[in-house]
Amino acid sequence: MEDKGEVKCIKFSLENKILAVQRTSKTVDFSNLIPDNSQQEYTQECKTKNANILGFCWTSSTEIVFITDQGIEFYQVLPEKRSLKLLKSQSLNVNWYMYCPESAVILLSTAVLGNVLQPFYFRGVTMLKLPKFEIELPTAPKSTKLSLSERDIAMATIYGQLYVLYLRHHSRTSNSTGAEVVLYHLPREGACKKMHILKLNRTGKFALNVVDNLVVVHHQDTETSVIFDIKLRGEFDGALTIHHPVLPPRSIQPYQLPAAGPASVTSQSPVPCKLYSSSWIVFQPDIIISASQGYLWNLQVKLQPIVNLVPDKGRLMDFLLQRKDCKMVILSVCSQMLSEADRATLPVMATVFDKLNQEYKKYLDAEQSYTAAVEAGQSRSNPPLKRPVRTQAVVDQSDMYTHVLSVFAEKKEMPHKLVVSVLMEYVRSLNQCQIPVKHYLHELVVKTLVQHNLFYMLHQFLQYHVLSDSKHLACLLLSLESFYPPAHQLSLDMLKRLSTANDEIVEVLLSKHQVLAALRFIRGIGGHISARKFLDAAKQTEDNMLFYTIFRFFEQRNQRLRGSPDFTPGEHCDEHVAFFKQIFGDQAVRPTTL
């Protein structure tokens, strides 16, 4: 690309199709980067007479905006025609501008003091003028000179909403204890609204980043940063919410620079890089550039260390639940609060469980209504509903079971009373959130109670249906009968309530040699009865009276069905017939005269 003079600024369009180069304060040159096209540039001059281009920015792969000191011009680039088409323009005095690509909003500082901000919103070939708003300056400006500097404003999307962050410096006159960050909410439509104030409680030089929906404010003098989360509860004065740092100030983790110099020489040990240096420049949302060392960093928030910095577990949960990679941390917090070392009280556990389950429930509901909608065939409704995303904040029963509860319950040294209380607290929380409890949790409860011979407790739980019915549980109970006889009854009741377990019931009864009961039961509910099965069972009891009864019962059934008391060969009852004769003699096998 040949030299046509000093380049003020170059910007690639999205997808790097076109390169825009500003060399003069009036024009911007373009060159297509599509291979077959020739490299020949084409130029666009700003429409407004004797206006100076402050800058330009791409809003898409072919749309571009010029910002001049007298307004903005919105163009569409036509690469093949090698020309631009003015889509829209707006004239107003501009002090400076700021562009937020991810929200495609341009903010123009207007008015003498520069504290009236005019946002524009770009979408495709349309340019939307949003209502302008004024930033309250800390002190009534004495002069008429520009008093809102670009450095003190940032734009960022926090929890899906676009905010304009204003770093308001400490002023002796205002009785504020220190600098603070003011958040203006900039909605797609409707007026911009001042909403949050982040108290920095200090003065000096600051820089902002937004990471994982957290506002990170760096302070140069103390070389520390503080973190704010606007979702956490703050002091609400009716209009504004005032926030304090989530945790005490902490420094960014020290960073080692690889030794400078030729790559061959690697003997030198890496040098620690100077943090919070004045040569740092921050870009939204999370970029820090060290001009001096020529490094670019992405700022990250490490959750694990934070866990111990927030004493209030409830608040900690609120904080963690909003973070991206929170699950493992949350689980570790849970196990920690159960550990002997620093065990939380039951009420605290309760609140933690409740918070987790509320989040869990939200997801379940969304999921449910989605599937419901899909089944209802509204899938092609617009906007097309999309499957709810399962964030890491969704900590479900299996997570809790595998990582926290089962481990905890296994611990020998744990007082069983505590174990039970905790499990019941979690179950309670689930129920309170109307989340159906998974059977493995119930089984864990049962196992724990059984291990410590707390059978009566178990009995009471089942009595009040705290442990909900399932074949799993019923079978588990059956296996307990030898230790705790009532378990048999409990299990039968459960099978009955399930009303899908009639076969199991019959099996249980037969296994207990309660052949009559089994037969009466089936007769009650109707259903096929295998003569052989019952005759076998009766024979096993070695109770001739019983065998007689059962045998006769089937004889009469045969009589009703086939007009003869004999069994069909298919029923394979010959041995039983023989057995019957053997005990009660042939004459006992008489055709029942009906």
Binding site: T345, S421, R428, H459, Q460, Y464, Q489, K496
Partner: protein
């Protein structure tokens, strides 16, 4: 019907003067020789039966005038209770009044249960007889017996004893899962914050919701709480045994500490708010201080009040949904040996004075007869009888559960009766495995 209870001990001490063998005798006025005679008879009877079964001596003696019940709760300690047969005055031909004893009126099982109950209750508060002997010899034992039974015998109302005394069951308060879980976590929290609380029991309207004690202990404690301890001043005569008497009085928040009752192995503190009552068993080792009581109050009081109103609310919701369970067609008693759960629509509330039943005593006795028939085999049985009064009485025993129904459709036939019972089971016991 009079009561005379004797407690006779210990052939080991036979060398001691005869009368010393008698550790407690009520009524005490009885002349000494008389006492010795009566005690002697019991010994004779027991000895006599040993010739036929050394290990299983007599349990009761039937005579024309009375029945005597024997119980050997601890080796060589015998408790005997004598209950007089009811009498009816008759006019003989020559106009002279003659008393006739009704010898078939008393049910053995009922009164032997009452006698065993006596011991369990004594033990609950004093520990075993032997323990007293070890602690302070016969003298101490006699004192303890005197002290305990003097008061306890007042609370016995033999004429109103029936099937329920055989069961010695626990009436559970029906409650939804969520409220129950709330109570659970409430109790767990209290026990966590007050380490000297060993066990907790939670009741509502004299019905149990939660017991941290083992079943058998709870059974006796429950009996004690519901018969002797709870203040009974508010007591509408005609409220079903299982109806929320105190809950009916709206906003009557009588939150109050029942002081500390002596209790083996420790003490109990009772706190009640509205109709909810929590009973805390406290470690014997630690003497509860007044300060502790205050703390207990401050921790429990507020939460309990909230819970109580929750329960009350829930209860009325259930009541509305379940509709009027008082079905004129039948009255029933239900008991489950496995969890001691007991339910009766026959009994009015047991008052300290008398337990009102809504059916004729003879029918109650028929229930007793059926019950004793059941105990002869432990297999499932069903007995349906039609009394001379044409009432139908049904007894069902199915896997450790017993159900007794009295139907007042006099001219129903067996099949119709069976249908009624089926209906009852469908409405009242649909969630348990109960063969018909």
């Amino acid at each position: 019907m009079g009561l005379s209870t004797r407690l006779q001990g210990n052939r080991v001490h036979a060398s001691v003067q005869e009368e010393n063998k008698i550790l407690f005798y009520h009524p005490n006025e009885v002349e000494k020789n008389e006492k010795i005679r009566n005690v002697g008879l019991c010994e004779a009877i027991v000895q006599f039966t040993r010739t036929f079964s050394p290990s299983k001596p007599a349990k009761s003696l039937h005579t024309q005038k009375n029945r005597q019940f024997f119980n050997e709760p601890e080796e060589n300690f015998w408790m005997v209770m004598v209950v007089r047969n009811p009498i009816i005055e008759k006019q003989s031909k020559d106009g002279k009044p003659i008393v006739e004893y009704q010898e078939e009126e008393l049910l053995d099982k009922v009164y032997s249960s009452v006698l065993q109950q006596c011991y369990s209750m004594y033990k609950l508060f004093n520990g075993t007889f032997l323990r007293a002997m070890e602690d302070g010899g016969v003298k101490l034992l006699k004192e303890r017996l005197e002290k305990f039974f003097h008061r306890y015998l007042q609370t016995l109302h033999l004429q109103s004893c029936d099937l329920l005394d055989i069961f010695g069951g626990i009436s559970f308060f029906p409650l939804d899962k969520m409220t129950y879980l709330k109570i659970q976590s409430f109790i767990n929290r209290v026990e966590e914050s007050l380490s000297i609380v060993k066990y907790t029991a939670f009741l509502y309207n004299d019905q149990l919701i939660w017991s941290g004690l083992e079943q058998d202990d709870m059974r006796i404690l429950y009996k004690y709480l519901t018969t002797s301890l709870f203040p009974r001043h508010i007591e509408p005569e005609l409220a079903g045994r299982d109806s929320p008497v105190r809950a009916e009085i709206p906003g009557n928040l009588q939150h109050y500490g029942r002081g500390l009752e002596p209790f083996i192995p420790g003490y109990t503190a009772l706190i009640s708010a509205m109709s909810a009552a929590v009973c805390f068993m406290i470690d014997a080792a630690t003497q509860p201080t007044l300060d502790f009581c205050r703390r207990l109050d401050s921790i429990v009081g507020p939460q309990l009040t909230v819970l109580a109103s929750d329960i009350c609310e829930q209860f009325h919701i259930n009541k509305r949904t379940s509709g009027s369970e008082k079905d004129p067609q039948f009255k029933f008693i239900y008991f489950n040996h496995m969890n001691l759960a007991e339910k009766s629509t026959i009994h009015m509330r047991k008052t300290p004075s008398v337990s009102l039943t809504s059916v004729h005593p003879d029918l109650m006795k028929i229930l007793g007869d059926i019950n004793s028939d059941f105990t002869r085999v432990d297999e499932d049985e069903e007995i349906i009888v039609k009394a001379m009064s044409d009432y139908w009485v049904v007894g069902k025993k199915s896997d450790q559960r017993e159900l007794y129904v009295i139907l007042n459709q006099k001219n129903a036939n067996l099949i119709e009766v069976n249908e009624e019972v089926k209906k009852l089971c469908a409405t009242q016991f649909n969630n348990i495995f109960f063969l018909d």
